[in-house]
Symmetry: D2
Subunit: 140 residues, 4 copies
């Protein structure tokens, strides 16, 4: 069983800094999204690829924990790790690391479910996704 | 022991709707923020009031669960509930309700810690906050 | 010829405040959007109404001028005014007023064009829009 | 007299795509900001550098024109060009280019003024900025 993971370097936008001088927490959700898109490109699980195969995978759960504040004009990297599950869900774990100090500053996870194009929940994994899991050998 | 709670009606902005026609999940974090500000105004726990008393209460944890999608041009309301804790933390729970159907569409919680104005974590509750808890009788 | 206008009170979100303590300019685009939606509801020119009539009116030009900074926890109002034109375009002018001091703090304008649902530019006004202009007597 | 310019490749975030399948116009303001920060880093005119020299340069005017829609998962680049002026203002012009077709899709400009750290308008150029203009030979 392989572990699928990707890394995305991020640049804090000035507009993501709040009145206290540190990055506003709502920006973490955007950084996770950036990492998810990087993962999608690397492993062929992009939104467009899903849409062509007639399903979507909307986010239904997100959790983040801020361990330390993030600052403007410092280099950071988001590590995203795919956690295989038997259920018809996509689970990712995230870690944002301060590249200067090497410290983890934020952790988090997201859960996605499958929907058809009329936005009805799918209780089973779409065929494309099953094939995708086989190709990357993520399930035993 | 009293229960402190507030309600905030929300209006989905067109720019919060994604390509799938439903509200993008990152908007939930904004709706929770709107509710938190409503709560702060109602009970005297606003950011400004804290800053005058030399502390801040940054968000360090956020979780949301989307039960049903949210749509543009429908009325919603966010209920925010204050959950008293012994620890030097502020905990809120949230429920977004579709006012047409009466159904809960999103739930969530946030956790805030206390920092001084140099952004150092406070391990104890600030004096203003202790007095605030007394005034509202939220601790036994 | 009538003048069509609407007003939308706005509440500055804490997340719209930048590190300098004043509202970040990108938020102005959101406030204009709020006013445009208020106008749409008042006069029956909403996005959904357009979509049902098989056209969209994407923003192709936006200008804002900040005369004074905007602050958190002060009341503001956005006035939106419809400027009739012969061309197949929708032009709005905006003024954000500080309700405490009565001063105009931001002005702006936006221009929208008409597109069909395949996102092709329409060189003529859609039928629904011509009828809308007649109903509200905005053209001579 | 030299021309100062920079280029910033941009990646459209999924959350920047609207219900019509194209990038929402408010995102252009963010792309301009990304380019301005790239310029700042390249030529030593970052926000932090200004703050250390006791001034800020808030945006007071922004204009964009969308010539063609922008799409998700296509490569774009924002070119930013510094336009020297005698006045105590910073003027930039922008062009977003579709790297696949080579077409310009969005143009724009922004104007910044100088403020001291108490957010009072400066009618003269700050010393640091005059020295910066000399160093880069942007004024005759």
């Amino acid at each position: 069983m392989k572990e699928l993971a990707a890394n995305k370097e991020i640049m804090v936008r000035f507009s993501e800094v709040g009145p206290t001088g540190v990055v506003k927490s709502v920006a973490y959700a955007h950084y996770f999204e950036d990492a998810r898109e990087e993962f999608g490109r690397k492993y062929g699980l992009e939104y467009m690829r899903m849409a062509k195969n007639s399903f979507a995978a909307p986010l239904v759960e997100l959790t983040f924990k801020a361990i330390r504040p993030m600052y403007y004009e410092r280099p950071y990297s988001v590590a995203i790790r795919y956690i295989p599950t038997e259920a018809a869900k996509i689970l990712f774990r995230y870690e944002i690391t301060d590249l200067q100090s090497g410290e983890v500053v934020v952790t988090g996870k997201t859960l996605q479910v499958f929907m058809d194009m009329e936005y009805r929940l799918l209780w089973y994994k779409p065929y494309y996704y099953i094939a995708w899991q086989k190709r990357w050998e993520v399930m035993e």
